[in-house]
Amino acid sequence: MAVVVSNFVNGEFVAAQDYIDSINPATGELWAKIPNSTEDEVNVAVAAAKNAFEGWSTTTIQDRSKILQKIADLLEKELKEFAEVESRDQGKPVSLATNIDIPRAVYNFRFFATSILHIKSDCTFLDGAGAVNYVQHVPVGVAGLISPWNLPMYLVTWKIAPCIAFGNTCVVKPSEMTSVTAFMLCKVFQDAGLPPGVVNMVCGTGPRTGEVIIRHPDVPLISFTGSTAVGRHIQEVTAPNTKKLSLELGGKNAAIIFEDCDLANCITTTLRSSFTNQGEVCLCTSRIFVQEGIYSEFIQRFVEASRQLKVGDPTTNVNLGALISAQHLNKVKSFVELARKEGATIQCGQGVDQLNLPNPENKNGYFFLPTVITNVSDSSELMQSEIFGPVVCIVPFTSEQEVIKRANNCRYGLCATVWTKDLGRAQRVARKMEVGTVWTNCWLVRDLNMPFGGMKDSGIGRESATDSLEFFTEKKTICMMIGT
């Protein structure tokens, strides 16, 4: 009995012409059918969004805020259901979805519902000329929002909330691998009284559905989270239309661990930063630089702790669920194969330890053990390419200068963690890291008021209360001549 997802256009659920299969990663079984929307179907959605823009962009901030709060309330009420479905669609543990993913989705709506009530802008006086200049932020139009499969609700709401809070309408394309909770979210929009056409959802693959959205002349804003390769493609095809782009792309994040760190804490947190969500977060640590003096001890304790992590059925009490798909599982496996070929050492995990899946339903699931690799060169693909799975490389370093250079020797620049009790050193190193966010002595402590985003191939733009305002509105200077 497959769940059949519909598109959501102009406030109504609409059946599509073609459907593709969506698999439950924990069982390898088909569990949902997702529309694979055609150009025509996307065009209708864009037209609906365009139509709704006039009304929505002139709805008062207070009224928009109320609706977003209502959405947050309704979503929060159904938290358990959303978490269970998210887990089934994505493979992550239900506990993770329940504690992190869905609460954050709720908070995304509340955050922007309230932040829009406190916007102030700049103003200057040109005394001589007798003019007052002020800035007004105005909504832009229809935004194309394309979200990935790793944190489905978390990331799609992180785009939708600011987009509509700031007065735009949108056409959303969630990943075809994880569209079911977005589908349920549309029901919440309906029940909250969000006017028809403000949010439209057309599901489908990138090449078939996403491509139409990014190329559409009536979609001036594109916010995309996903791979660097697709990000590059989006830049290429949108250049002729001079579209505004917000791109949150891949990462190959480093953890830099000095001898004077709080080692116990560091290991606990770095374990989390390496393997949470099966390593499928753009912010996950994948290169661990450990200062020589504590290198052996770190390896021993880190590997032991990795072996304690439970991998299995996401509906049970586990630390890791299943990877998203068979294809992705093979990709992650191939990196470990490469490690073997290059003569690196696999300390634990894939090929070394046994996967234990007591539930026969999981025998075809895409499970992968947390894997630690040492003895690998900085220039190896293992240290340069994004694996996006529960695989980390640990390498030793000697000095501060050296590790900064080596950590920055990477085309990505999303985030980094720095472990040291010396605050001066923490600041020095953080200052030099070519990344958008540095966490010292912690990981993924997020204040949504602070700019979030990547440098280099990790993306363009920042997201936060003020940065999202910049992206989702156009800043207009209005000069009023009032006389001297």
């Binding site: 009995m1 059946a15 159904e78 269970e84």
Partner: protein
């Protein structure tokens, strides 16, 4: 375990899940048509307005349809009228072939069409698929009847004349149909009309437009030309004006309606001005009589089948159980046992459910009102008597005994899963009670006394009598009522005549 079962029927995903589960051959989208059908095209209302259709099992949105109005209806009538000019000239063999293909297509897609019914109006999937078989049967029957519309050559009283009577199709027919058999209520009329050579404009109930629309898709595939079948969908708000246009249009030759007696009366009035042909299938208040001479076990089984089909929402459901005092206690006890044993309330898509939801909460309100009225007047509540926890459109199977003719459930059509049992002493009393109604559609009785059977069958004031049986509908037999239950007969060899005129041709001047 299916995720829907896991999350429960109140979950968002359940409510969103229109019945598109486990499609093997074709997907739901190919059967769900969210546009009306006029002159062979899928169209929207001119106003662009739409109305929503909900699944009564869980309130979920099934889809939406054009909300058409008088203007849209006028256009459909015109197209049907134009189409009639050539359809009336088609050969009976051609019409028969199309109807036969249409029957085949329905049977090939029996499950998918059944799913539409369950989703639109709640009856269990097994019953819905049964309805499709029954509905398709009308296309098969009228494919055969189409070729047998014989007339007469009448022996002439004078040499110079020859007298003939031929049958000709009446013209454009307006078919106004209800939600309880969303497919069969259409095919029994459209099959006859189209076989006769008429064209039709159908206005299905706003609760169940999709079963009507899918028939148009199949009609196209069967080769029915544009304009012969047209379906005008509209919300409750526009129903009155659309019905009025059909009744008052001089281009419409006939109205066939199945629905409530009250609405039937209004439509009759509206048809008077153009002196239309009419067929009316209106309300019933079926007596189900069990005599001392009956096989009580058989009567109980018959009662179950008769009462609880479509959760009691058919015009021929047993409405009043009249049970003779000699076997009264036995019957009541056994009926109660069977109700507990056989009936399971829930979503019509669930495996073992026998009682789906009622069509909407207003329906539930009415059933509850009649139940409470009976209880307040002294009836005994043996089971049920309240809403069912499965949802706001569900009612518990209910057994009321010691019912009297003063109670509303005796006088009004219950249209719900409530067995109302009345005790009687003599055969005369039973027949009097049975006939104490302004309507007379179906009547049932159980007896093993041959003379009693003939007496009661002849004395019961109904259009259809079932003796020692709880189910009487079949395409071969004339279906219809007397008194205020209606005018005309559907199915049987008489069914096609409803859509035909007798034309007497007098050929004179023969030497």
């Amino acid at each position: 375990m299916s995720v829907i079962k896991l999350l429960g029927s109140r979950s968002i995903l359940s409510r969103l899940q229109v019945s598109r589960m486990a499609y093997s051959v074709r997907t739901a989208s190919q059967f769900l048509h969210e546009k009306a059908y006029v002159n062979g095209k899928w169209v929207d209302a001119k106003s662009g307005k739409k109305f929503q259709v909900l699944n009564p099992a869980n309130g979920g949105l099934m889809g939406s349809c054009p909300d058409m109005n008088a203007e849209d209806t006028q256009l459909a009538i015109q197209k049907a009228h134009t189409a009639f000019q050539f359809w009336k000239k088609s050969s009976v063999k051609e019409r028969s072939a199309v109807l036969r293909k249409w029957f085949n297509l329905m049977m090939e897609n029996q499950q998918e069409l059944g799913k539409l019914i369950t989703e639109e109006m709640g009856k269990p999937l097994k019953e819905a698929m049964g309805e499709i078989g029954y509905a398709a049967g009308f296309f098969e029957w009228f494919a055969e009847e189409a070729r047998r519309t014989y007339g007469d050559i009448i022996p002439s009283p004078v040499d110079s004349k020859r007298l003939l009577a031929i049958k000709q199709p009446v013209g454009v027919c307006g078919l106004i149909t209800p939600w309880n058999f969303p497919s069969a209520m259409i095919t029994r009329k459209a099959g006859a009309a189209i076989a006769a050579g008429c064209t039709v404009v159908i206005k299905p109930a706003e609760d169940t437009p999709f079963s009507a629309l899918v028939l148009c898709d199949l009609a196209e595939k069967a080769g029915l030309p544009p304009g012969v079948i047209n379906v005008v969908t509209c919300s409750r708000q526009n129903t009155v004006e659309v019905g009025k246009v059909l009744c008052e249009s001089p281009l419409v030759a006939k109205i066939s309606f199945t629905g409530s007696t009250n609405t039937g009366k209004i439509l009759l009035q509206q048809c008077a001005n153009t002196v239309k042909r009419v067929s009316m299938e209106l309300g019933g208040n079926a007596p189900f009589v069990v005599f001392d001479s009956a096989d009580v076990d058989a009567a109980v089984m018959g009662a179950m089948a008769c009462k609880f089909r479509v959760s009691g929402q058919t015009c021929v459901c047993a409405n009043r159980f009249l049970v003779q005092e000699g076997i009264y206690d036995q019957f009541v006890q056994k009926l109660g046992e069977q109700m507990l044993k056989q009936l399971k309330v829930g979503d019509g898509f669930s495996e073992d459910v026998t009682q789906g939801p009622l069509i909407n909460s207003k329906g539930v309100d009415k059933v509850d009102e009649l139940t409470q009225d009976a209880v307040s007047r002294g009836a005994q509540l043996k089971m049920g008597g309240k809403r069912h926890s499965a949802g706001e459109n569900y009612y518990e199977p209910t057994l009321l005994t010691d019912v009297t003719s003063e109670m509303r459930c005796f006088k009004e059509e219950i249209f719900g899963p409530v067995s109302a049992v009345i005790k009687f002493r003599t055969e005369d009393e039973a027949v009097a009670l049975a006939n104490a109604s302004s309507v007379g559609l179906a009547g049932y009785f159980f007896s093993r006394d041959l003379s009693q059977i003939w007496r009661v069958a002849e004395n019961m004031e109904v259009g259809m009598v079932a003796v020692n049986d709880g189910i009487l509908s079949t395409v071969e037999a004339p279906f219809g009522g007397v008194k205020e239950s209606g005018i005309g007969r559907e199915g049987s060899k008489y069914g096609i005549d409803e859509y035909m005129n007798i034309k007497y041709i007098c050929m004179g001047g023969i030497q």
